[in-house]
Symmetry: C2
Subunit: 362 residues, 2 copies
């Protein structure tokens, strides 16, 4: 790459996942939990980048409360890089704001928009792909995305369909033209996608040059382009009222839906770097080290006749007896015991707590 | 009955059950846990007696640590009634010591030896039977015991075989001559016992006059009689050294084995007063109030798609999802999650903790 100056990373840290309840709470969503290592996922995300990007080129975007947490967790991140959105309005709004901030410093800066709460186990592959993508995005009028090679017929992800023609190469990596972005499929279609070699999971990670992003908005997302212009003005004039007004008005839409599904000139490179969005306790069980009976255990434990269990209980001794496929998560004020194939029902717990107005557990 | 003066109750409170781990600990066994009501089982045991027996006629026998706990839980119990054994040596030693103490005050006092950790749901029936038994024991050279009508072919209890001949009546209750005490049977024999109408579970509760007890020992347990005499002397001379010496030497044997299995002149009355020895978490699940899905829940909880579970978690919110027949017990420093039909394996946890020398959890 031609120099770190022209490349920066934006870490989207505003997510509000509830699927790791009772460990995750409204004020401490997944990206702020130490569930994939001893460090929180956002710390891992930053650490992973450091061989390629210095702290001064790493930005985060989140709400104010999360920003305070980020400053505490990542004290070496320059304070001015910890961007705050006036209101959570999904990724289109976040990325228009952050890309506009970068644009005002240097319009030709390449921005890599990454997620704070994804696991990437093959760091070297990831950094190689990221560097090549940044180079591609610097040179061409394109948006780059990482497509994850499907390992099973997932119905919980959107898919990216690629063409095998007009494949481009940068620094030895292959970049495929994106034919279209597809919404989460049904199982039948997911099975086709998972096996036809032309479909990849949409990772939600994108790389673009700031000026290219503006032009793509203008051309393919004209209803969002005025917000881009207003935000640029608000930032230039340091007028927070403009930003707040935009964030009141702007539709709460993902960047995928607002721009990617409509844009031309999008390239995909294979994200074959051990990616997981760690979407549930059982997904986490696949990631953790397991004992000979397939139990993933975090915390002091005594296990008798149990298999394929996940235990997160850092505060106390936990004994498991005669259990198969059970998730046990103990926190200071709440305990979850859940059959593993039912872990998506944690959201029903959240709903029940909201109905009870039991805020302290949310 | 001819007056409360000639009747007293001894509550055997020295047990060291581990089957309610992690709630029960070495220093807080079952009788000191509030598991059958908001009060501890020993408090329940004393309260149950109060219509018939005043505090001044209720004794406890335990070790010194337990005695301190008893004084705290039962402040109205006279301090001198809280007897301490120099060393835990099973029920033969405890009951020789306590009966000897009573004997020295009045040899014709009837002693009812009861357990601190049994549940009796039909209090009125129990007190009526107890009163009639005390009257029988006051008048005759007999030992009375309560036999529990078997409700299933239990292999975990000893049995009492009775004769239907020469049945005696006191105050409207029937007293059957005991043919013999039988050790815990195998399943085949248990099935016979449970259905032949001549076998009852040995409840471990006995009623005798202090002087009769001494004579029964002399005749049927001659190897224990010298200890009885030495203890009487030790108590009379207030010489603790004698008591300590006896407790070093005396075999650690149950009163059943030491005396009951050999004695003649033992009568049994039916203990049909809703008895349970509450021997395990799953036994407790049968006793607690249950919801429409047969879940026994103690503590704030959210239950989704779960049935026949037991939850004890008084300190925090607990969510159960998709579980059948699972026991969850949360305490300050330890958590148990156990398949219900495996709850006897809690003893394996205790063994493992001993091996690890993890004393704080024992």
């Amino acid at each position: 790459m031609s120099g770190k100056k022209s490349f920066c990373v934006v870490i989207m840290a505003g997510g509000r996942g509830t699927r790791f309840w009772p460990l995750s709470r409204e004020k401490r969503p997944k990206q702020f939990l130490p569930i994939t290592s001893r460090r929180t996922m956002i710390e891992e995300t930053v650490e992973r980048l450091l061989p390629l990007v210095s702290y001064s080129s790493i930005y985060t975007i989140s709400d104010g409360g999360q920003a305070r947490l980020i400053k505490r967790l990542l004290p070496r991140l320059p304070e001015k890089n910890v961007l705050v959105e006036p209101k959570a309005k999904n990724t289109a709004a976040s990325l228009i704001l952050t890309t506009a901030s970068v644009y005002l410093r240097n319009p030709r800066t390449v921005v890599a928009a990454l997620c704070a709460d994804h696991l990437i186990s093959k760091r070297d592959v990831f950094l190689r792909k990221l560097e090549a993508s940044a180079e591609a995005a610097a040179k061409e009028e394109v948006i780059i995305t990482f497509g994850i090679p499907p390992t099973y017929p997932a119905t919980g992800y959107g898919y990216i369909e690629i063409s095998r023609h007009k494949v481009q190469n940068f620094r030895g990596e292959r970049f495929y033209p994106v034919v279209r972005f597809k919404e989460k499929p049904g199982l039948k279609q997911a099975k086709e996608f998972a096996s036809d070699g032309r479909h990849y999971w949409n990772s939600g990670m994108f790389i673009w040059r700031a000026d290219v992003f503006g032009r793509k908005l203008e051309r393919y997302a004209p209803e969002f382009f005025p917000y881009w212009k207003r935000i640029l003005r608000g930032l230039k004039e340091k007028d927070d009222r403009i930003l707040r007004a935009v964030f009141r008005e702007i539709p709460a839409t993902s960047i995928d839906y607002a721009l990617m599904e409509k844009a031309e000139g999008v390239l995909m490179t294979r994200g074959d770097f051990g990616w997981s969005d760690v979407g549930s306790w059982s997904a986490l069980a696949e990631i953790w080290t397991r004992d000979e009976a397939n139990n993933a255990l975090h915390g002091e434990s005594l296990v008798i006749d149990s298999s394929s269990c996940l235990l997160y209980s850092p505060r106390k001794l936990t004994a498991l007896i005669g259990l198969q496929d059970v998730i046990v998560v103990d926190t200071k004020d709440a305990l979850l015991v859940c059959r593993r194939d039912q872990d998506q029902r944690v959201k029903d717990i959240i709903e029940a707590l909201k109905k009870r107005n039991a805020k302290k557990y949310l």
